[in-house]
Symmetry: C2
Subunit: 534 residues, 2 copies
């Protein structure tokens, strides 16, 4: 640690019990206290630290910003690891307007890049998630997170990596030559395409990456659709697949259930917190009625030339109308929603406005207030709004800027991926919903399109962190969900540090290959031992 401190400077090493306690916090069960947190300032520092760690067989767990909430935050698979925190590597190295890409370091966040683009390159949009605005672009992409626009496949939009290997050597992916002009435009390079090796793995520390951006479209609108009959969900899923395969829907879209909507709109009423770990059905029905929430809703963005946007709207109307209620939002309507929401804050106006909104838009005031946030996220402008739903089961009121680690929120994401067919989605839901019931947790389910053929079934387990029994039960539910889905042939698209050890058993042949590569690149297991089962 002395050698490491000499590299990064003593200001950039944290070892006090309070610091370690803070760094070991996560929304998932079982905190894993690190041995230290080290903040290198440059890629060269990272190389040097990795070399020293190798000499002394110190395990390093690289994290970009540590906002991997619900999957383990900044924490490693096991305790007593040194966290290699990359937040000081926060430079936006290049933005190429003509070719629409940025080159960034791992500490660069969605919020930071969006602001930078707004200030310097307003003709370019980035993608973001509806998660933490201060999350790392590279961190999310390497964990293969998904966003909300045409560029929602974050790993798919990475192009050209600069990586520190376990021996401290740097490697540029893509196969050269030196100063290769297509490093950030041609994903596959020449020779084997090796960038994929550095996602969901522990083969290296990415210290720089190209990220594709999208030119600001001439026209944009978003849509919001409420499914009339819960039983039509499989039809909706099949419709979304067809709309994606035929190119009508090109951006990612999300289908969310009632608990997702309620977690966004509200919180557990304090009196219920200690009585229930799962809201009673009658109460959910009441809340749904009160907020105007459907069993399933569906939304996304549409962009292109004005003519293309018109055509897509017409197609969506034709294809979705039989199944429910479809509305389109544009700048004008979102402006109105914003104004009405503000006006309703005047106490004597609230009543009449609430009545009017419900009468003419069929929505609650609270739902109306969501619209501008959804609209901006769908354009790649991150928002603090949605991530606050991590406080659904918290005693603390939702804060302006969420920090569920600090505020001790209990949340594990469980996220299998399925072929995008109504049959498969129904099978997973029918498998998982009863488990949530049996283990007495609210059934939160969001269906995220990963591509035109695959859909992530993102489920959240919200639990009271201070209630040991509930924490244990949440872990049991997680186990039960993992077992059931995996036995039925569904793999996780991404996984929490608490679930990684099971991956190796799932596919012994694949696992043997990942271990063989690990042994060649990092025989002493310096980098993130156990990450993704490797």
């Amino acid at each position: 640690m002395d050698a490491i401190t000499r590299i990064v400077g003593s200001d950039h090493v944290k070892r006090s019990p309070a610091d370690l306690e803070a760094a070991g916090r996560a929304t998932v069960p079982e905190p894993r206290l690190p041995a230290a947190v080290v903040y290198p300032g440059t890629a060269e520092d990272v190389s040097a630290v990795v070399r020293v760690a190798g000499e002394h067989r110190i395990a390093l767990w690289a994290c970009s910003k540590g906002k991997n909430w619900g999957y383990g935050s900044a924490t490693a698979v096991s305790g007593n690891t040194v966290i290699l925190h990359l937040e000081r590597l926060d430079r936006i190295i290049e933005v190429n307007e003509e070719l629409a890409y940025a080159v960034v370091e791992p500490g660069v966040t969605y919020r930071q890049l969006k602001r930078y683009l707004q200030d310097h390159h307003p003709t370019l949009w980035c993608d973001c998630t509806d998660g933490p605005p201060d999350g790392s672009i590279i961190g999310n992409a390497l964990d293969r997170g998904v966003g909300v626009t045409h560029y929602s496949d974050h790993f798919g939009s990475l192009c050209g990596l600069d990586v520190v290997l376990a021996n401290g050597e740097r490697v540029r992916t893509g196969g050269g030559p030196i100063d290769c002009k297509t490093w950030h435009t041609h994903k596959w390079g020449v020779g084997p395409y090796l960038e994929g090796m550095f996602s969901q793995s522990n083969y290296g520390v990415v210290v720089k990456a190209g990220v594709w951006l999208m030119p600001r479209p001439e026209a944009f609108c978003s849509f919001q659709f409420d499914l009339r009959e819960e039983s039509d969900l499989p039809s909706l899923v099949d419709t979304v697949r067809r709309l994606m395969l035929d190119g009508t829907l090109q951006a990612a879209s999300h289908i969310v259930n009632d608990i997702v909507a309620l977690a966004i709109l509200t919180q557990y009423p304090a009196p219920l917190l200690d009585r229930y770990s799962r809201l009673p059905d009658t109460f959910v029905d009441e809340m749904r009625e009160r907020y105007g929430v459907y069993a399933w809703s569906f939304g996304g963005g549409i962009q292109g030339t004005p003519a293309v946007v018109r055509v897509v709207k017409r197609t969506l109307k034709r294809r979705l109308a039989p199944l429910g209620r479809l509305v389109f939002l544009d700048d004008r309507i979102v402006g109105v929603a914003r104004a009405v929401t503000r006006l309703a804050q005047v106490p004597m106006m609230r009543g009449p406005i609430e009545w009017m909104v419900r009468r003419f838009a069929g929505k609650s005031l609270e739902m109306l207030a969501v619209a501008p946030h959804a609209y901006s996220v769908l354009q790649g402008t991150p928002s603090d709004f949605f991530v606050r739903h991590a406080y659904f089961k918290s005693r603390i009121p939702k804060p302006e800027v969420a920090d569920p680690d600090r505020d001790n929120c209990g949340l594990i994401w469980f996220a299998p991926i399925a072929p995008m067919t109504g049959r498969d989605i129904r099978a997973i839901l029918e498998m998982c919903r009863p488990l949530f019931e049996r283990y007495r947790f609210d059934f939160y389910a969001a269906l995220l399109t990963q591509n035109a053929r695959s859909m992530i079934v993102l489920m959240a387990i919200f639990f009271l962190k201070e209630d040991a029994e509930q924490v244990a039960r949440a872990s049991e539910l997680y186990e039960a969900l993992s077992r059931a889905t995996s036995e039925a042939g569904y793999q996780p698209y991404r996984i929490s540090v608490t679930g990684m050890s099971k991956l190796a058993d799932m596919a012994p042949d694949f696992s043997a290959l990942t271990r063989c590569i690990k042994a060649a690149l990092d025989p002493d297991h310096v980098l993130a031992p156990g990450k993704y089962g490797i």
Copy 2:
């Protein structure tokens, strides 16, 4: 070899001098005679052969169909290697109509899959190249070849591989579980994405792969554009980039120069063959005039709903009209072109028809005859038509079905990739054209969109195989082109077996990583030693 013969059967091993001579033929210089050609019948055979080869340190060079014309055909980097020919693995294992993918073995060809789809799943289209219809779908995709539709990035459309490693073990990519339902729908799987490792490399033999297909669009048309001023090429390239980035053009498109068109339309006149290795400019001008060929033409397909196709056509008109002459082809027009072409075969009709076609379509009869072939390839229906241009400099008239290896045609592809900007494309052309002049070869250049940000500059060196001086000069030109482009920072998108040894020097850091992985997976260099510099 006895052990290998016991595995595959003596009918499936070729060792006679005549067979080896035939198998060692390639359009590129320097034939590399193999030691034997082995044709396993199943994936299990492949495993067994690889195991035996490992025990006896025999080098194997896997090839799928051996139609890698211009890049080395079936031949290995070095002679005296055993060719592991996979053409007997020719099963179409599954077609999933709902999720639009097929699972095929490496011996399955574009022609075979297209016919199978037409017969059994007419609602699905595959992509193809404008190269050999009997080329392997998997072989081309693993070499990262490109096609002509929305699914033109062939490696990008591969999903879910079954691979035999150098130790004979089988591995399914994607990370499980067993019978994982998203194996062929979710490209990244869980854990590191390792499929890229098996493209442009020698880490394994792919014996099965998922290939994404596209649903037959409601509407389709193609466009053909002639650039008025040669000097506007950079503007055209910038326009194509913008049209791709904003989503107007979604299929691949090709910009081709006059020599490409002439090679497709005609052949070297016999009397010139022995006098010139490069057509005199005056002669080229004459031919251009005669056939109605422009310095640069541009074409591609448009598909979607009828409304989308209309919108895209309008946008293309607006954006391209200032630069030249744009025509759209649909089923009706292509039908007329076909009928007129047929009619012109009646001798007394030819004259008047030729006059009419030139008067009203501004094209030669020969150009008109090309249209139906281009139109069908853009819909994923492979054609024998275009690949015949390998006979541009042959004494043999273009045959119905091309086999340039058998017919001793001389052809090397040289294919750097550049950021898709007018500046970069101009730089490469201005660098390479004088080299073609200096080494006295015709300057064939086709610009293929690889993605919205990158363009392949595909150049062909046509040479007379029977003329040793010309062969040597072709190799020298190839060297000179490689050196010049690489020094300027452009990498090849794909490379011929004759150029692979240079790759390692180009990017020492990347090369060290590829070698480290090779040492771990295949320490005895059983699989394709030297492939892509590894």
